[in-house]
C-alpha cells in the first residue's frame, strides 16, 4: 500500500508538471498539431471520480484545432456504484444516446469518443453498443479487467473503488472479464494510449494485445501508442493531445500508425524516442512452441 501511495503521489506530481508544460507550450502545440478542416464531433468521457472539468484542457485544445469537442454531460464519473455492470452500461447507453445523436445531427458526422481511464472503458463499451453512431474510439490509460490475470493496478485506487462500488474488480468484470475488442468487431478504429510510468493502472492492462493488433484489418484498425505521461495528467499532457488530434484525423480507409517524428525537428528525435517509447511487443511468433516450452 505504501508503494502504491508513493506511486499515486508521483503520478500527481507528474500531472502537475504536465499541466505546467501544457500551459507554457500551448501556442507551440497549437501550431504543431494537425488541424481539422471539416466537421469532426468528439465526446470526451472523464475518468473515475473526475468530472467533465478534468477534460477541459483537452476539449479546449481540440476546439482550437477545429474539432467540435464536448464533454459527456453526465457530471462526475462515479462508476457503477454497486450496480451490475451490464445494467449500468445499459443505463449509460440510454443516457448517452441522445447526447451522441444530438452532436452527430449538429455536425452531420459520426461522433468520436475519447475516454480517460474508466471513461475509456465506457467509451469502449458504449461504442460496442452504439457502433453505427460512433466513428472511432481513443482510450487514454483505459484498463481491461481480466477475470484471473493479475495486474499491478494501484491498490489504493482499487480499495477506494471497492469501497465506493461495493464490488471487487473480479466481481465487477464477471467471468468473461472486460477485455479489448476483437480484431474484427466492432468495425471501427480503436486506439489505446498508455504510459510506462502510469501510477494508477498497469500498462499491460491498457495495451491492446499484439495478436489482436496483428489480426486487425484496415477496416477496423487497432493501435497502441506508448507515451511518457502520468495517468492523471493524460488529459492535460501536450504529448497525449498531439497523439489524440493526430489519431482523430487519421483516415479510416488509409490507416497508418502514429508517427510522432513527423511533428518534431530531426535534432529532437532522440528525445522524441524517449517521450514516445516503442510499443511493447506481446506477440510471440510461435506461441504454441512457447506453450510447449512452458509445459513439462
Amino acid at each position: 500500500m505504501l508503494a502504491d501511495l508513493l506511486r499515486l503521489q508521483l503520478d500527481i506530481v507528474g500531472a502537475h508538471s504536465e499541466l505546467a508544460a501544457s500551459l507554457f507550450g500551448e501556442n507551440r502545440l497549437k501550431t504543431m498539431a494537425p488541424a481539422c478542416t471539416e466537421a469532426r464531433p468528439v465526446i470526451t468521457i472523464p475518468g473515475f471520480l473526475a468530472s467533465g472539468l478534468s477534460l477541459m484542457r483537452l476539449n479546449s485544445f481540440l476546439r482550437q484545432q477545429g474539432f467540435t469537442a464536448k464533454h459527456w454531460g453526465q457530471g462526475r464519473n462515479l462508476g457503477p456504484q454497486g450496480m451490475d455492470w451490464g445494467h449500468h452500461l445499459d443505463a449509460m447507453v440510454r443516457q448517452m444516446t441522445d447526447h451522441i445523436d444530438a452532436l452527430a445531427d449538429e455536425t452531420s458526422a459520426p461522433v468520436s469518443l475519447v475516454g480517460q481511464s474508466l471513461g475509456g472503458v465506457y467509451a469502449r463499451e458504449l461504442a460496442l453498443r452504439l457502433n453505427d453512431r460512433i466513428d472511432r474510439v481513443i482510450m487514454l490509460g483505459a484498463p481491461t479487467f481480466h477475470p484471473y490475470k493479475s495486474n499491478r493496478h494501484n491498490r489504493l485506487i482499487g480499495t477506494f473503488g471497492y469501497w465506493l462500488n461495493r464490488q471487487s474488480a473480479t466481481e465487477f468484470a464477471g467471468r468473461e472479464g472486460m477485455l479489448h475488442w476483437q480484431p474484427d468487431r466492432p468495425d471501427m478504429p480503436c486506439v489505446a494510449i498508455h504510459s510506462p510510468v502510469d501510477g494508477v493502472v498497469d500498462e499491460q492492462a491498457c495495451h491492446i494485445p499484439s495478436y489482436i493488433v496483428a489480426a486487425s484489418s484496415h477496416r477496423s484498425p487497432r493501435e497502441n501508442i506508448r507515451v511518457m505521461s502520468s495517468h492523471i495528467g493524460m488529459s492535460v499532457s501536450p504529448l497525449v493531445h498531439l497523439a489524440v488530434a493526430d489519431r482523430l484525423l487519421a483516415e479510416r480507409a488509409n490507416w497508418r500508425a502514429f508517427d510522432p517524428m513527423t511533428y518534431f525537428p530531426t535534432y529532437l528525435r532522440p528525445a522524441v524516442r524517449l517521450l514516445f517509447p516503442e510499443s511493447i511487443d506481446m506477440t510471440h511468433p510461435n506461441r504454441a512452441g512457447v506453450f510447449a516450452k512452458a509445459g513439462r
Partner: protein, 307 residues
C-alpha cells in the same frame, strides 16, 4: 476474433520427423501438460483459492473437456484401432485406453460440475473437494498421457506403414485447436490471454530479459508481490479462523450444552487455537521460503546472465 472454421490442424514442424497425425497428438499432449501445470500451480498454492482461481480452473477444465472429446480422443481412437489391427497383442492395452478415455471424460465432467458449484457458492469443504478433485484429475491425465506417449505412440510409429498414416490423415477429424491453433475461439480468449501472460514470463525468464532489463526487474518484483499477497491472504484467513473459534466458544459459554462440555471448553479452545496457530505458522513459513527461493531464482538467473 471470430469463431474458427474447421480446417486442417496446423502443419507439423520440420524439426520432428513424425507422421502428421502423431505429431499433432504429441503436440496436443504438450499443450495439455502446460495446462495441467497451471492447474497444479493453483492447487499447490498455500493461500486459499479465490474466485479468480476458480474461473481459471473452470476455463482450463472446460477446454480439456471439450477439445479432447471432440477432436483429440477420436483421432487417438483412429490411430489405436489401426494399431490394434497391426499388433493384435496390444488389444488389451488399447481397450484399457479406450475405457480410460471414457473415465477421463466422466472425471472431467464431474470436476466441471464441482467448479461451477463452487463459483456459485464457496465453502471450506467445497474448496477442499475441488483441490482434491483437481489433483486427481491432473494425476490421472498425466498417467494417461504417459502411457500413450511412452507405450503406444512409439509402437504405432514402428508398426504403422506410411500408407496407414496417410489414410489416417484423410480419416481424422480435421479441426483447428480453438485455444492453441492459429485462431483463438471467442470462448477461449480469456484463457488465451492469461496463458499469453504466463508465457511471457517464461520467455522473459529464458530468452528476452537481459541484465537490469525492465522485464527482469518486474519479474523479480512480481515474485515478491505475489509472496506478500499470499502472506497477507493467509494472515486474513487465520484471523478469520481465530474469530470463528472464539465466537463458537463464546456461544458455548452463553448456552452451555452440558456441564462436562463447559468444563472441558477452555482446554478444547486452547487446543483449537494452538492447532490453527501452528498450522498457520507452518504455512507462513512455507510462503516465506518459497517466495525467497523464487526471488533468489530470479536474482541468480540475473547473475548468470550478467556473467
Amino acid at each position: 476474433m471470430s469463431e474458427q472454421s474447421t480446417s486442417h490442424r496446423s502443419a507439423p514442424s520440420e524439426q520432428l520427423e513424425l507422421p502428421e497425425v502423431l505429431h499433432c497428438l504429441v503436440r496436443e499432449h504438450q499443450h495439455f501438460s502446460a495446462l495441467l501445470d497451471q492447474i497444479e500451480k493453483k492447487t499447490e498454492q498455500v493461500s486459499p483459492m479465490t474466485l479468480s482461481d476458480y474461473y481459471l480452473l473452470r476455463d482450463i477444465v472446460g477446454y480439456m473437456h471439450d477439445y479432447p472429446i471432440q477432436v483429440h480422443h477420436p483421432t487417438e481412437t483412429l490411430v489405436f484401432e489401426r494399431l490394434q489391427q497391426r499388433r493384435p497383442k496390444l488389444s488389451k492395452t488399447i481397450r484399457a485406453m479406450f475405457a480410460d478415455h471414457e473415465e477421463v471424460a466422466a472425471e472431467t465432467e464431474h470436476l466441471l460440475f464441482l467448479l461451477e458449484q463452487i463459483i456459485q457458492k464457496a465453502g471450506r469443504e467445497e474448496c477442499r473437494a475441488v483441490r482434491t478433485a483437481c489433483n486427481d484429475f491432473a494425476r490421472h491425465q498425466r498417467q494417461h498421457m504417459q502411457i500413450e506417449n511412452l507405450q503406444l505412440f512409439p509402437v504405432a510409429l514402428k508398426a504403422l506403414s506410411d500408407e496407414d498414416w496417410e489414410s489416417l490423415v484423410v480419416e481424422y477429424r480435421a479441426a483447428d485447436d480453438p485455444l492453441f491453433g492459429p485462431l483463438v475461439a471467442r470462448r477461449h480468449r480469456v484463457l488465451f490471454e492469461y496463458l499469453l501472460g504466463a508465457t511471457e514470463q517464461v520467455v522473459a525468464k529464458t530468452e528476452n530479459a537481459g541484465w537490469l532489463s525492465l522485464e527482469r526487474f518486474s519479474l523479480a518484483f512480481g515474485t515478491l508481490q505475489q509472496g506478500r499477497d499470499a502472506y497477507f491472504e493467509l494472515v486474513r484467513v487465520l484471523v478469520e479462523q481465530l474469530g470463528e473459534e472464539t465466537s463458537a466458544a463464546a456461544q458455548q459459554v452463553l448456552k452451555p450444552p452440558g456441564v462436562l462440555a463447559l468444563m472441558t471448553l477452555p482446554a478444547r479452545f486452547a487446543t483449537g487455537i494452538s492447532k490453527s496457530m501452528l498450522r498457520g505458522s507452518g504455512d507462513l513459513l512455507k510462503i516465506s521460503t518459497s517466495t525467497a527461493r523464487m526471488f533468489l531464482g530470479d536474482v541468480l538467473s540475473i547473475s548468470r546472465r550478467k556473467g
